[in-house]
Amino acid sequence: MEFLFLKLTKMKHLLYLISIAILLSSCVEDYNVKLKSTYVRVVVQGSITDEYKTHQVKLSKSADYFSNQPAEKITDAEVTLSDGVNILNLTETSDGIYETDSIAGIPGNTYTLNIDINGEKYESSCYLNACPPIDSIKFGYYDNIYYDSTLMILLYALEPETPNNFYLWKVHKNNVLVTDTLFEVVFSDDVFINGNYMYDIAVQWVEANTSDTITLEMQSITEEYYDYVNQLLAETVWDGGPFDGPPANPLGNISNGAMGFFNAYSVFKITAIVPEKEKWILLESF
């Protein structure tokens, strides 16, 4: 229940639920439509974190809506990353993927990404926020056949008093990233929880069982990225049809008409091994 609240801080998503509930009798059919073409955009997906590792920037091209092919990669671009003092050149390690050497971003810095594709220049910058620690995680479950093997990951942490903090949670199971697609992440602002001690809040869930190793990854993201993910999901999986506003393109942070986002964030990971079922916490069922 609590995790649902976090996800539903924008009540718009409630309407999505409602419109589904009401439309129990609604049916879906394939629809044939001819769409116009649009000009090609450059798409950037890149990030820098405070983890010591190589960081990636992916460059690709947009296509017509029904092109139905994997996105075309952009090769031979010049990509540099700067923290205001040092400039790093990224190396293209495979088609369209540009990597840094192993470095760690420093919270408090603003990182700037510069891309040059055949003379066309694109720029983006993002501030790297610090991340508060998580005290511990526990596992909860609902006594409901619907959620039989789904474990809720419960968070115990103190949310800093400073306002305007934004978080995003991902899950790893046995060292493999489970939430690898954007609609599987959970993210939130701190409006309702600012400065409070969070306990028993389910921030993620995973299909897992006793003795699985679960790692909860918490990211401290910027408000811009929070808005971007919100807009992105609103235009895709959360489309509430007539109950939503008109669709619009999410606003990334790249200049010169490029789409996508260059994201800087810090990470706090906490790992726990799933105990025997008796030690799981029974959550209020619905």
């Binding site: 059919e29 394939d30 955009r41 091209k61 809506y65 697609t181 049809g241 008109p246």
Partner: protein, 778 residues
């Protein structure tokens, strides 16, 4: 305030000049009602000798002043038998008339065929009048007869979407309709997301929709006035009407407490739509509750021939809950108290005090994780309306109105007390005052030229306690100003002239023209096609100017077939300023800086409306066709380029027919066809974090597929026994007879099997739906 003073002086001058004419003239006045005591609105009074006439006002009162003499006067009303009175006029007389219902087998009209051409001689244009019993005949979704769904079949009126109760009039947005229920403003006229309206047809007497040419007595919304009047209650005998239907049941009880003096009406309705959810195979849907109920109350008391008191109220609630997870309910309350007073035989007054409230509550969880969000708005309105009938050539109306608005846009908080882990968020509350003063005259200048001219003066003020945010040119909040309680901090005012004229070509046809200016001070912060109960009304403020519209219309009206069939063609052009749209990705909920999401620009619409209508005889119905365009231009929306508004549906055709096969058997059919609504589709795509993200086209650059549908219904009535009042009827109706899968929503998504492939899908909501309703009456 100076212009208001001038208006008052003008008023007094007119009074004096008109009174100085009187020389041995006497007034006939009174009320016209039907057999149960219900006042008839707009019943005509026609003096054969002088070929002049008048009509009853909204309280069934008429007054006509003539020189001393003998007169033949015909009183008539649609669906009722005419009554002819011979009068010797040598003093003021009160003549109250009761009209009896006409038998349906009468095709032709007796006595004066001229009286059927009411629509030809009145200056009124751009209006649609309906009676509750006409609405009952139209086949309905789930068998639920509905005022608003029937109005959506009229020229110039469109539905905002399949099944929705929102409506657009002549290219205006749904919040530009002033919906009055016994003079109380209804802020959210929908139940269940709009699939049903809040109006229980059994409690309704009269409906009038003004699409333009809104009379000076009314204002506050740009595009239309929907004036719904509740029945008063049978003054003669006790009656019960009710029905059990597929989705809801209803019961109305009315009757006299003191015969001919004091009556009462109670009407209630409840749905059990959520019972269908129990049939769902989805576990979570089984625990969902979704129902609404409403209650209408009215009592009216005739103190004496000159004084009447009315009290009417509405109370309705929608409830939606999802197991224990969350609950949500919302609804309207209205209370109207009125005093009709006949001051002199030529001067009629009505003073009303009205309270309306709309609110919603959302709750989720419990204990420390409990959360509650409430929002409401309230109106207190006081108005006085006067009708003055100095002579048959002039009908003067004047009055004043004052409204106090209170807005509480949202208060969200944790419910766990001190152990709650949630803080609270309160949107700033605000207050506003809205005043109006008006004066109008319907003036018969020549035998065949009548002009209705009027002026409405309005004023709007914001009042503290309030917090006003100040924005810079980039819509970013820079600071805020706090006003103390009762502090008036912003004033808007304006003049709204209204003029219409009727040039009668002959007894069968006329040309009408009108111009009106309207202003709107309240705005609905909503950017979705469907209205949702969470939509918030906002007052004009230092950051939001009032909306303004100017509308011109020209029409040709002609009756054919001995005035049994009326036809009309009307063209209109409407120009709207200070129109509201929202920036891309606007946050409209729980956003204290909501005003920063507004983008303001212009809109305009124009079109031509055709109507053929037959309201009497065995076969009744109408054909309505509208060809129109509705566009907007707002900086920052669609790069500042012109784009079609969401209600731009060029073709709108409705054919409605009812036929009495026999005394006990009625069949009805409706066929509608509209162009698909404009919609924004993707034209490109890109990949981000393993998802395919669409790139969207110009705003409203595409269209949904065209919409059309056929509904049929059959009503079987029980045998009418001469001494038994008990009657019942069975109604079988089928919605969407040829099962067309009209697109309700088009979605674009990745194929789950093959993520590289995107496809478009059509969601449709209402396939063929039969329903059964049993109605009873005793």
């Amino acid at each position: 305030m100076l212009f208001m003073k001038k208006l008052l002086i003008g008023l007094v001058i007119i009074f004096i000049s008109l009174n100085s004419w009187s020389q041995k003239k006497y007034t006939i006045s009174g009320h016209i009602n039907d057999e149960s005591g219900e006042e008839l609105i707009g019943a005509t009074v026609y003096v054969e000798n002088t070929k002049t006439g008048t009509a009853t006002n909204t309280y069934g009162f008429y007054s006509i002043t003539l020189p001393e003499g003998n007169y033949q006067i015909v009183f008539s009303y649609l669906g009722h038998n005419n009554q002819l009175q011979s009068l010797q006029l040598n003093q003021n007389q009160v003549v109250n008339i009761t009209l009896t219902q006409a038998s349906k087998t009468i095709e032709e009209v007796t006595i004066s065929a001229k009286r059927k051409n009411d629509n030809i001689i009145r200056t009124e244009m751009s209006t649609m009048k309906m009676q509750a019993k006409e609405i009952k005949l139209v086949p309905a979704l789930f068998g639920e007869v509905d005022v608003i769904k029937t109005l959506q079949l009229m020229p110039g009126v469109q539905s905002t979407g399949e099944g929705f109760s929102g409506f657009n009039v002549r290219g205006g947005s749904p919040d530009q309709n002033l919906i009055l229920f016994d003079e109380a403003t209804v802020y959210n006229a929908s139940h269940l997301m709009g699939f049903f309206s809040v109006f229980n047809n059994d409690a309704i007497k009269d409906i009038k929709l003004y699409k333009g040419d809104i009379p000076s007595e009314y204002g506050g919304r740009l595009s239309s006035l929907l004036d719904i009047r509740m029945k008063e209650g049978n003054l003669k005998k006790f009656e019960a009407t009710g029905g059990i239907g597929t989705i809801s049941s209803r019961l109305t009880l009315e009757g006299p407490i003191i015969e001919d003096k004091w009556s009462v009406l109670v009407a209630g309705r409840r749905t059990y739509a959520d019972l269908f959810l129990l049939l769902s195979s989805d576990e979570s849907l089984k625990q969902t509750s979704l129902y609404f109920y409403d209650l209408n109350l009215k009592t009216n008391y005739k103190i004496n021939d000159k004084n009447r008191i009315f009290v009417s109220g509405y109370f309705g609630r929608d409830v939606f809950s999802f197991g224990d997870m969350f609950g949500w309910d919302w609804g309207n309350y209205t209370l109207t108290t009125r005093w009709n007073h006949v001051i002199t035989e030529k001067l009629f007054s009505n003073v009303s005090f009205i309270y309306s409230k709309y609110d919603y509550i959302m709750e989720s969880g419990s204990g420390a994780s409990g959360f509650k969000w409430t929002s409401n708005m309230e109106d207190f309105k006081l108005k006085g309306d006067f009708s003055y009938y100095p002579n048959p050539k002039n009908t003067i109306k004047f009055g004043v109105e004052a409204i106090y608005h209170h807005f509480n846009p949202g208060f969200a908080r944790g419910m766990g007390g001190s152990s709650s882990m949630y803080n609270s968020l309160k949107m700033p509350e605000s207050n506003a005052l809205e005043y109006a003063i008006y004066l109008s005259n319907e003036h018969k200048i020549l035998e065949n030229l009548t002009v209705n001219y009027g002026l409405r003066g309005t004023m709007f003020q914001n009042m503290g306690e309030a917090t006003v945010y100040n924005f810079n040119d980039n819509y970013v909040k820079i600071d805020s100003t706090i006003y103390k309680q009762w502090d008036i901090y912003n004033t808007f005012y304006g003049l709204e002239p209204r003029i219409s004229l009727n040039y009668t070509l002959n007894s069968r046809s006329s040309i009408k023209a009108s111009y009106s200016r309207t202003k709107q001070y309240l705005h609905l912060a909503s950017n979705s096609t469907a209205g949702s109960p969470l939509d918030v009304w906002l007052p004009s403020s230092p950051n939001i100017n009032p909306q303004i519209a100017d509308q011109v219309a020209l029409g040709y009206f002609r009756n054919i077939w001995s005035d049994i069939v009326e036809t009309s063609v009307e063209v209109y052009y409407k120009d709207m300023d200070n129109q509201i749209d929202f920036k891309d990705h606007a946050t409209l909920m729980l956003n204290p800086e909501l005003e920063g999401e507004f983008r303001i620009g212009e809109a305009w619409s124009y079109g031509v409306e055709f109507l053929i209508r037959k309201q009497q005889g065995k076969f009744t119905g109408w054909i309505s066709y509208t060809l129109s365009k509705s566009e907007r231009k707002i900086p920052e929306i669609n790069y500042g380029n012109v784009y079609p508004s969401t209600y731009d549906k060029p073709h709108n055709l409705a054919i409605v027919g009812n036929y009495d096969l026999s005394k006990r058997f009625v069949v009805s059919a409706t066929w509608v066809y509209t162009t698909g609504a404009p919609v924004t589709f993707p034209t490109g795509r890109y990949e981000y974090e393993n998802m395919i993200i669409p790139i969207y086209s110009d705003r409203n650059g595409y269209r949904m597929p065209d919409y059309h549908r056929l509904d049929l219904s059959v009503t079987l009535k029980s045998k009418e026994k001469p001494n038994k009042r008990r009657r019942s009827e069975l109604n079988v109706s089928v919605y969407n007879v040829y099962n067309r899968h009209n697109a309700w929503m088009i979605t674009f998504s990745q194929d789950p099997e093959n993520p590289d492939i995107t496809k478009a899908e059509k969601v449709y909501v209402f396939p063929i739906i039969p329903s059964l309703t049993w109605n009873f009456f005793f």
